[in-house]
């Protein structure tokens, strides 16, 4: 947390929320009200039906609470915390993420810290994260590039792109698990499927640690 940057708490029960974090920008609000708290937090509320648009400096910490409606965070945010019930969530760039909800697609660009996502039925896609901690019940989980990951899903499919050298753990009940490792890497692997097929293209070594467990899904570890 950077104390010189604003901390914004944005809440609206329903309706779209759009936050734009731009270098040098001042905090401004369209479609809602802004109130400064004693602890320095800026509280933003909206009862209007139009899109709530918040502009803030790059690196601002955001806490966004909604029940329904799409949430979009553009630019470079600091830490982003989201609780919602339904509605798509898109975050372009953040230093850390904790996002929770039930349904709606989750799309994350880059998270330089921990990307923690807990949704029920949503498809979760992350372009890049240092560490991904993701859980769904039925939604697919895709992380294109990650150093460390811990993902769980009941019936969703998992696809993780390892940067190499880190610890990846994926567990499903029926969903398939596919892990891509850098060409030439030799990770330590612990792969177990009770009734599904398991295949690994990589030689065993010490370039990171991969654990994949599933009850009935397939497991595939492949080079890219």
């Amino acid at each position: 947390m950077n104390d010189s940057l604003p901390r914004l708490h944005i809440s609206r029960r329903s309706g779209k929320v759009r936050v734009v974090a731009e270098p040098g920008a001042q905090v401004s609000v369209e479609g809602g009200s802004l109130e400064s708290r004693d602890d320095g937090t800026l509280e933003i509320h909206s009862l209007a039906s139009s899109t709530l648009v918040v502009t803030c400096p790059a690196g601002s910490d955001l806490t966004i609470s909604t029940s329904s409606g799409a949430i979009e965070v553009r630019g470079e945010a600091g830490s982003v915390r989201v609780t919602t019930k339904s509605g798509n969530l898109a975050i372009e760039h953040a230093s850390a993420i904790d996002a929770r909800g039930a349904s709606g697609r989750v799309e994350v660009g880059t998270c330089t810290g921990e990307c923690h996502v807990v949704f029920v039925s949503s498809k979760v896609h992350v372009d890049a994260a240092r560490r991904a901690v993701i859980a769904t019940v039925s939604g697919n989980i895709e992380v294109d590039e990650v150093d460390e990951a811990e993902v769980k899903t009941v019936s969703g499919n998992v696809e993780l792109g390892a940067r190499g050298g880190g610890r990846l753990a994926a567990r499903t009940i029926s969903g398939s698990i596919k892990i891509l490792v850098p060409d030439g890497d030799r990770p330590t692997t612990h792969l177990r499927s009770v009734s599904g097929r398991v295949s690994c293209e990589c030689d065993d070594g010490n370039d990171g640690d991969i654990t994949a467990k599933t009850v009935s899904g397939r497991i595939k570890v492949t080079c890219r």
């Binding site: 929770r100 909800g101 019940v137 769980k152 567990r171 009940i173």
Partner: protein, 170 residues
């Protein structure tokens, strides 16, 4: 109007993650096994000042007189569920709680605070313990536990969003 009693304590919901899918894909025998494992571990872990209010399909509604004990016990429970998950079939349980003043209806509890606790549990991931800020304040210092703020949650019938925390063993 029936005569009712208002209680003060911590309302806890546990829920087996993906139970419906598990039952669909692996049958009723597995479902029964998971339910029995959950109930056994919960009953073994609960302190005397807590009780199972009722079973809710794939979860349990619990009551704790003391918020501090609720937090500590639920984190112990998650460790027990994690140990159970070492085998082939994981035991993923999410737990949510809220300190409030529900109405007693026989052995049952009802009211706004019960609804809020249920909503909080819906936002927990497998292995997590989430609570309202009110619970964390009531609990005070819990040895070996930190609270991480997560934002607020909207609940039907409550105008303002309710601040939410994650309890973490440290």
């Amino acid at each position: 109007m029936p005569v009712t009693t208002t209680l003060a304590g911590t309302i806890v919901f546990t829920d087996i993650v993906g139970f419906t899918q598990l039952t669909d894909e692996h049958g009723d025998d597995l479902a029964l096994t998971l339910l029995e494992r959950q109930e056994l571990l919960v009953r073994r872990t609960l302190p005397e000042t807590a009780r199972v209010v009722k079973e809710l399909g794939d979860g349990l509604l619990l009551w704790f007189d003391d918020a501090n004990a609720a937090i500590a016990t639920c984190l112990d429970l998650q460790r027990a569920f994690e140990d159970e998950s070492e085998g082939d079939m994981p035991m993923w349980v999410r737990i949510g709680m809220h300190w409030g003043c529900p109405r007693a209806r026989g052995d049952d509890i009802v009211g706004r605070d019960v609804n809020l606790a249920a909503r909080i549990s819906e936002l927990a991931g497998p292995g997590e313990v989430l609570c309202s800020e009110a619970t964390a304040e009531r609990a005070g210092a819990v040895p070996g536990v930190e609270f991480e703020p997560l934002g607020s949650v909207f609940v039907r019938g409550i105008a303002d969003a309710v601040p939410l925390m994650r309890a973490i063993s440290v």
